[in-house]
């Protein structure tokens, strides 16, 4: 059977792609965040999931209460030295592939709290994929960070790391 005969038979009912593109397309459009908030940035994260900003448009509305079901960790706020081992444990419990968004000034650098009590940037304890600046970032900023992450996931293909 020739190619033209195949095209006649199948018509528009089939597309060809690579497995990596297909898998990463699925991953990028169903990024489920772990459901926990650390500080005031969590309010903006909650707003992002609410009806006004509706992150469900991008497939990330399913906040999972168990790290076993999550793909994305949004570090929404300052991380204290006492919270740091807990945060790392949540990250370790998430199955691969997994991504981290550092939300706001405190999570990214320690913010204005340059003192003994806080981790000066969450990238000291977990690898961060996208930093969202702001104090706190508006929900649009966080959605923008999520869309940047989606682009990177699509480029990731079947590799386990970005």
């Amino acid at each position: 059977m020739g190619v033209e005969a195949l095209q006649d038979m199948l018509g528009d009912s089939i597309i060809t792609t690579t497995l990596g593109k297909l898998v990463s397309w699925g991953r990028a459009n169903s990024v489920w965040p772990a459901q926990f908030g650390l500080a005031c940035c969590a309010m903006e994260m909650i707003t992002m999931a609410g009806p006004r900003y509706d992150v469900g448009r991008f497939g990330s509305e399913a906040m999972r209460a168990s790290p076993r079901q999550s793909d994305l960790m949004i570090v929404s706020g300052r991380v204290s030295q006492k919270m740091a081992p807990v945060l790392r444990q949540i990250y370790d419990q998430m199955p691969e592939p997994k991504w981290v968004i550092s939300m706001g000034a405190c999570a990214s650098t320690g913010g204005v709290f340059n003192n003994y009590a806080l981790v000066q940037g969450v990238d000291k304890i977990v690898p961060v994929d996208v930093y969202v600046p702001g104090c706190p970032p508006r929900p649009e900023d966080l959605i923008n960070g999520l869309m940047i992450l989606q682009e990177r996931i699509k480029a990731q293909g079947l590799r386990s790391q970005l």
Binding site: Q81, K82, G110, F113, N114, N115, Y116, Q120
Partner: protein, 162 residues
């Protein structure tokens, strides 16, 4: 309010008064005040007077502050007791006011003041293996030195070993 006999000084005005007592008299004075109707425990905190630029130099370095409220008359009473730096210890009042036990743990955690006869004097906010008491004024601020800032030469990042 009837001023307890053991008060060594008193002040304030209208319904916001304070009395000063010797640390050893704290349990009896607080029991007396509770008898008089100051049954609501507001808080216990501590002040470190190291290098305090006060006109009236405080007699000792540490000052314990007990705040009580009379629910029916709406009066506030503040009980102050000065603690020497050489022996930072005071009697526990958890047998008079049960919630004092946690406030005393907090003062112990952050100021290093021990409370005799306390049932469970552990750190409450900081990790159990923490060194030092951060709200003492001679404790280094911590954090990370900020490059090109005025104080980056003199920044202390590590707490002094206990």
């Amino acid at each position: 309010m009837k001023t307890p006999r053991k008060a060594v000084a008193k002040g304030g005005e209208r319904d916001e008064r304070w009395i000063q007592v010797a640390p050893a008299d704290l349990p009896t004075v607080l029991a007396d005040l509770k008898q008089q109707g100051f049954a609501s425990w507001c808080f216990l905190t501590c002040v470190d007077h190291l290098n305090t630029p006060l006109l009236l130099q405080p007699p000792e370095r540490f000052e314990l502050v007990y705040q009580l409220r009379n629910i029916t008359s709406r009066e506030l009473i503040r009980v102050r007791a000065y603690i020497a730096e050489s022996e930072p210890s005071a009697p526990s009042v958890h047998s008079v006011y049960a919630p004092a036990a946690w406030d005393e743990r907090e003062v112990f955690d952050l100021f290093g003041i021990t409370f005799s006869s306390h049932p469970d004097l552990r750190r409450i906010l900081l990790p159990p293996d923490w060194v030092g008491h951060p709200l003492r004024r001679d404790y280094p601020v911590g954090g990370e030195p900020v490059e090109f800032s005025d104080d980056h030469q003199s920044w202390q990042t590590a707490p002094a070993e206990a």
